[in-house]
C-alpha cells in the first residue's frame, strides 16, 4: 500500500548499483530533530522528487546527501562511497543547483565559471567555458558582471557551471523559483539529459506540477520523516499526487504503517 522510499523503480531503464543508498539518516541541530531516520535508494536514470512544505527537512536531506553536512546518525553511500569518510570523492561527482545561486555578483560570467571550474578540478580553459556558455545561450554575456543578470540568466549560468562539472548526480533545491518558462524548459532539459546519459537527480520542491513533469518517483517528507513514497509507473496522476501531498505533507494523517525501518533495498526484479 504505502511504497517505501527504498523501493526501486521497476522499469527497464534503471540498471546497475544504486547511486544513493541511505539508511536511518538522522540530523539533529541542537534540540531540533531535522531529519528522522530517513531511508532512501536511488538508481541511475531516476529522478526523485522530495516533496514537503517548508521545514519538512528537504533542504537538510539534500545538504546531507551532498556532504555539506555530517549526519548525526545513520549510514549512507553515494556511488558506493561513504557519506562520512569519502566526502571528497563524492563531491567530485555531484552538482547542486539551488535557488541561492552561489555566484559572485562582482565577477563576470566567465570569471565565475573559471573560478568554479578550477576549484572543482574540471576543465577551466577558455574554449570549454565558451562552449558551456554557448549551450545556455550566454556567450554574449560572458564578460558581463553577474550583478546585471536576471534570475533566469543566473540560473542558466549555474547550468553552464554544471555542464563544466558534468556531475553524475544532480541535486536541485527549489530550482524553479522565480523562473520564466524558457529557463524552466532549459533546466528540465538539462536534468533529462543527465538522466538519459545514465545520471540521476534529486529535486526538492513544493511545486507539485514541476515535480510531476521532471520526476519518476516522489517522496513526501514531513517533520523530517518520510511519510509517503510513490512512483510514476504506478499510474499516479497529478491530481492523485496533489491529494497525497495534501494528506501527508500538510494534513494530520499518520502513515498507517510504522515509520520506515532501515531495511536493505528489495532485490531488483
Amino acid at each position: 500500500m504505502t511504497k517505501r522510499a527504498t523501493d526501486p523503480l521497476r522499469s527497464p531503464d534503471s540498471a546497475g548499483a544504486p547511486v544513493v543508498e541511505v539508511f536511518g539518516l538522522t540530523k539533529v541541530f541542537g534540540g531540533t530533530l531535522a531529519l528522522d531516520a530517513v531511508d532512501l535508494v536511488l538508481y541511475r536514470q531516476e529522478v526523485l522528487a522530495l516533496l514537503g512544505s517548508n521545514g519538512a527537512g528537504k533542504t537538510t536531506l539534500l545538504k546531507l546527501l551532498s556532504t555539506a553536512l555530517r549526519p548525526s546518525a545513520g549510514e549512507g553511500r553515494i556511488f558506493g562511497q561513504d557519506l562520512r569518510k569519502e566526502r571528497d570523492a563524492i563531491r567530485r561527482r555531484i552538482g547542486m543547483i539551488s535557488h541561492n545561486h552561489h555566484l559572485y555578483e562582482d565577477l563576470t560570467a566567465e570569471e565565475n565559471l573559471r573560478f568554479a571550474a578550477i576549484m572543482h578540478g574540471c576543465r577551466a580553459d577558455r574554449p570549454a567555458i565558451t562552449k558551456a556558455l554557448g549551450e545556455v545561450e550566454l556567450e554574449r554575456q560572458a564578460g558581463s558582471k553577474v550583478r546585471t543578470f536576471s534570475t533566469g540568466m543566473k540560473r542558466r549560468l549555474v547550468i553552464a557551471k554544471m555542464l563544466l562539472f558534468d556531475p553524475e548526480l544532480l541535486f536541485l533545491d527549489e530550482p524553479h523559483n522565480t523562473l520564466d518558462q524558457a529557463a524552466i524548459a532549459l533546466l528540465n532539459g538539462y536534468v533529462a539529459a543527465v538522466r538519459s546519459r545514465g545520471g540521476a537527480a534529486i529535486v526538492a520542491t513544493h511545486n507539485l506540477s514541476r515535480a510531476f513533469e521532471m520526476a519518476d518517483r516522489f517522496v513526501i517528507l514531513r517533520d523530517g520523516a518520510v511519510r509517503y513514497a510513490v512512483a510514476k509507473y504506478e499510474g499516479i496522476s497529478i491530481d492523485g499526487l496533489r491529494t497525497l501531498y495534501a494528506r501527508y505533507a500538510e494534513g494530520g494523517d499518520e502513515v498507517p504503517e510504522a515509520a520506515p525501518s532501515a531495511e536493505r533495498p528489495v532485490p531488483r526484479a
Binding site: 539533529v28 541541530f29 541542537g30 534540540g31 530533530l33 528522522d36 531516520a37 515509520a259
Partner: protein
C-alpha cells in the same frame, strides 16, 4: 567517575585540604621577612594560577580529542575545564591585584605575570563567549575546540613576549632549577593549598561534567520520545 557519591568524596576531601591549607597559610606560617602579612595571599594566588594552567591543558587535550573523534564527552570536558579555569584565573587576577595594591600601592601594574594572566583570562572568556554565540552545539564545540588549541599554543609565545617586555614580579621561587628556594614552613602551606585547589578543580569538573551529561541525555530522551 562522575557519580554523585564519588564527586561528593572529592568535594569533602577538597574542603578538608583547603581548610587545612588556609589555616596553615593564613595563621600558622610565619610572615614574610620583607612583605609582612600581605604575602599570605600568595598561598591562594600561586595555587590558583597553577590549577588554571592545568585546567587549560585539559581543555587543550580534550579539544584535540573532540576534533579527532567527535565524542560529546570530550567536548563536555573541554568546556567544563575551561569554565573552572576561567574562575581560577579570575581568582588569580583578583588576589594578584590585592597583593599589588598592598605591595606597590596600585591596583594594577603591567608586570609580566599579571599581564600574562590577564591575557589568558581574556582568551578563555572569549572562548566561552564564542561558544555561547554559536548557532548550535556542534558548531560551538568545533569553534571552541579550535580556539582552545590556538590559545594553548599561543601561551608560550605570549609568555616570552610579555616577559621580555616587562618584569617587576619576583623571579620564580618554586619552578626553578635547583629546587624551591623558599622556606619549608612556607612551602608546606603552599603545597597543601595547591592540593586543595586541585581537588576543588576536580570536584567542579566532575559536577559540571555530570550536568553536561544529564543535559545530553535529556536531549536524547526528548528526541527519542518524538520519534515514538
Amino acid at each position: 567517575m562522575t557519580s554523585p557519591r564519588s564527586a561528593g568524596y572529592v568535594g569533602v576531601a577538597a574542603l578538608g585540604f583547603v581548610a587545612a591549607g588556609l589555616y596553615l597559610g593564613l595563621v600558622a606560617a610565619p610572615p614574610d621577612a620583607v612583605q609582612g602579612e600581605v604575602q599570605r595571599i600568595m598561598y591562594l594566588h600561586v595555587p590558583s594560577i597553577l590549577t588554571a594552567y592545568l585546567a587549560y591543558t585539559v581543555t587543550f587535550i580534550a579539544s584535540i580529542w573532540y576534533l579527532w573523534r567527535r565524542t560529546p564527552t570530550a567536548d563536555a570536558i573541554a568546556v567544563s575545564s575551561a569554565e573552572v579555569g576561567v574562575a581560577f584565573t579570575g581568582i588569580t587576577l583578583a588576589t594578584g591585584s590585592i597583593w599589588g595594591k598592598s605591595t606597590w600601592g596600585v591596583w594594577w601594574t603591567w608586570d609580566a605575570r599579571l599581564t600574562l594572566t590577564a591575557i589568558l583570562f581574556t582568551i578563555y572568556v572569549g572562548y566561552l563567549m564564542l561558544r555561547s554565540f554559536a548557532e548550535e552545539p556542534q558548531a560551538a564545540a568545533r569553534y571552541g575546540a579550535v580556539v582552545a588549541i590556538l590559545g594553548f599554543l599561543d601561551i608560550p609565545l605570549n609568555h616570552l613576549a610579555v616577559q621580555w617586555w616587562r618584569t617587576l614580579h619576583q623571579p620564580s621561587s618554586i619552578l626553578r632549577p635547583g629546587g624551591p628556594s623558599i622556606a619549608l614552613s612556607m612551602l608546606v602551606p603552599l603545597v597543601v593549598n595547591l592540593l586543595g585547589l586541585l581537588l576543588v578543580y576536580a570536584y567542579l569538573l566532575a559536577t559540571r561534567l555530570r550536568l553536561e551529561q544529564i543535559r545530553q541525555r535529556t536531549l536524547e530522551v526528548r528526541l527519542r520520545g518524538r520519534r515514538g
